[in-house]
Subunit: 328 residues, 2 copies
């Protein structure tokens, strides 16, 4: 059985999904949908067409799962609900605080349409969430820690770029080594925002811009930087392109807990990701979830699911027998 995938939205994430499909023999790319003029969008896969987003619903018989590759701020809250009427869908909705609300809306739409919708797939939410759940289920008495980085935060980079006098910028989120070491040692520290992460900015100035003023504006920016120790490096545009054009990310989820009649034994469970490409890894999770969505749908399941609700075997191309023999 092959799963026919549609990609809706062709930015970094959409391109990542296209690459991931090529790595999975049971997947095939059926079509790409875009808001841009289709003839201006050139994709990597030969023989696959790009269509106007408005025509997507016409493809409902030719696509098993539509992978929605828009953003969480404005695209997905509308698109996932809309396309769950026509397709099994997968999204990477990552506004943690709004997940319950997103779930409710998508669940109703998917049930109405008779489809499976997997939301909030990726690594956080996604693989990190799974590890928080498993570790907490096994060690009910303990404490969770999540560290992000070292990696590029798109939102923080954008915030720096919006400052007057800034031509271009990249922002890295960096875990504080001492905090990480203390957590790994099972010391269960109480950590403030400032104690967990630092922020590092590489900034290209417009000609004649005042570096001291830009640095001050970055470091005092509320929500984004004011609560962190931030380092600002002014570099040339050439250096930015040479050394900071990638989109690496990653991080660590740790649960430190106790067992025993007197809680005398300590355990530390750690899950770590080191990713050269944040969007390609996220896309790879989306494609595994698309496989699961297709299978669940074939079994007659409908409604909204997260990785919490999906038996792990559904994500793998291997059969139950193969999995038990080779990975258990």
């Amino acid at each position: 059985m092959s799963t026919r995938i549609g990609i809706l939205g062709y930015g970094n994430l959409g391109r990542g999904v296209e690459c991931a499909i090529r790595q999975n023999k049971d997947m095939e790319l059926a079509a790409v949908f875009t808001r841009r003029a289709p003839e201006t969008v050139s994709i990597l896969t030969e023989g696959v067409a790009v269509h106007q987003i408005g025509t997507a619903a016409d493809f409902r018989d030719r696509i098993d799962v539509m992978v929605l590759c828009g953003g969480s701020a404005t695209d997905l809250p509308v698109q996932t609900v809309e396309y769950a009427k026509y397709f099994n869908v997968v999204d990477s909705f990552d506004t943690h605080a709004r997940i319950p609300e997103h779930f409710e809306g998508v669940d109703a739409a998917a049930k109405e349409g008779g489809h499976v919708a997997v939301i909030s797939a990726g690594w956080d939410p996604g693989m990190f969430s799974l590890n928080r759940l498993y570790a907490g289920a096994v060690l009910p008495e303990g404490k969770d820690y999540t560290f992000w980085g070292r990696g590029v935060s798109q939102g923080h980079s954008d915030a720096v770029r919006r400052i007057a006098g800034v031509k271009n910028a990249k922002q890295y989120t960096v875990p504080v080594p001492a905090a990480l070491a203390s957590v790994r040692a099972g010391e269960n520290p109480e950590l403030t925002t400032r104690q967990k992460h630092t922020r590092e900015c590489f900034v290209v100035l417009e000609e004649g811009a005042d570096a001291a003023r830009v640095e001050q504006e970055i470091k005092t920016m509320p929500n984004y930087f004011a609560d962190y120790d931030t380092t600002v490096h002014f570099i040339s545009e050439e250096e930015l392109l040479t050394n900071h054009s990638g989109i690496p990310h990653g991080g660590v989820v740790i649960r430190s807990g106790v067992t025993g009649w007197e809680k005398e034994h300590k355990h530390v469970v750690e899950y770590q990701l080191k990713l050269d490409s944040n969007p390609e890894f996220t896309a790879s999770v989306l494609v595994a979830c698309a496989r699961a969505a297709h299978r669940l749908s074939l079994e007659g399941v409908t409604g909204c699911k997260t990785l919490f609700d999906i038996a792990p075997a559904y994500l793998s191309a291997k059969s139950g027998e193969e999995l038990r023999k080779s990975l258990l």
Copy 2:
């Protein structure tokens, strides 16, 4: 809803299950079953009785899940099949090569009895297996590595104890730091058995035993030590009891894989456990699986399951809403 647990077999693992039940408010210990004379077995929980193993089947209406705490060599191959007729069961069967065969036998028995049987729960097989599956599903092109330790291997400790002249012994399995560093760096090394782990033995000699001969016998023992670099320390019985009476263990599962149209991006996924008590952590996984077994059974599911077949949310005491709100 409370889950009434029976414990069958009261050694380190059974006692670990008893401790884990106390940490989970939705679980209660219903009874303990033993091969020994029940009056000689004293348990930690007040008001719970110890019964002869032969009477277990009489308790089928008073126990929701029987957790089987025997060994994989001779107990579980017989017991899990037997008790799946009367109860939902959970076991920690860990003879990797024989899991497919164990699965088949237990599946037939559980279906016949109308019960759910979760086999091979623990950390390897168990949490490590889950992480191999997830990482492989997300990164289909890559390489898996599993390192065990630093931790006590019961089987290797027993093997040393069987040597003439050895009064007592503990064996630690230790990952080779350089091998681990290379894997973590995404270098995908090919590693021999000797390059992955070393073995460290702490040995108490009988009076008058020949240390050189014992050391030679350990280091050349086929299967157990001959393929490894082994260090032997001769210590006093007092030192063994003071410094080596714990049962710590742990290890690391790493998958290193690539994504991108030209496979140009590297990703490293790592899952690490550092456990003060191997049996208590294993027991904690068994109890989370008992919760899942009970829930699946209430939904009408029957047959043999592994962690691969269980949606993660079933393991947690939290509701779907709580999980999405707090952990996703």
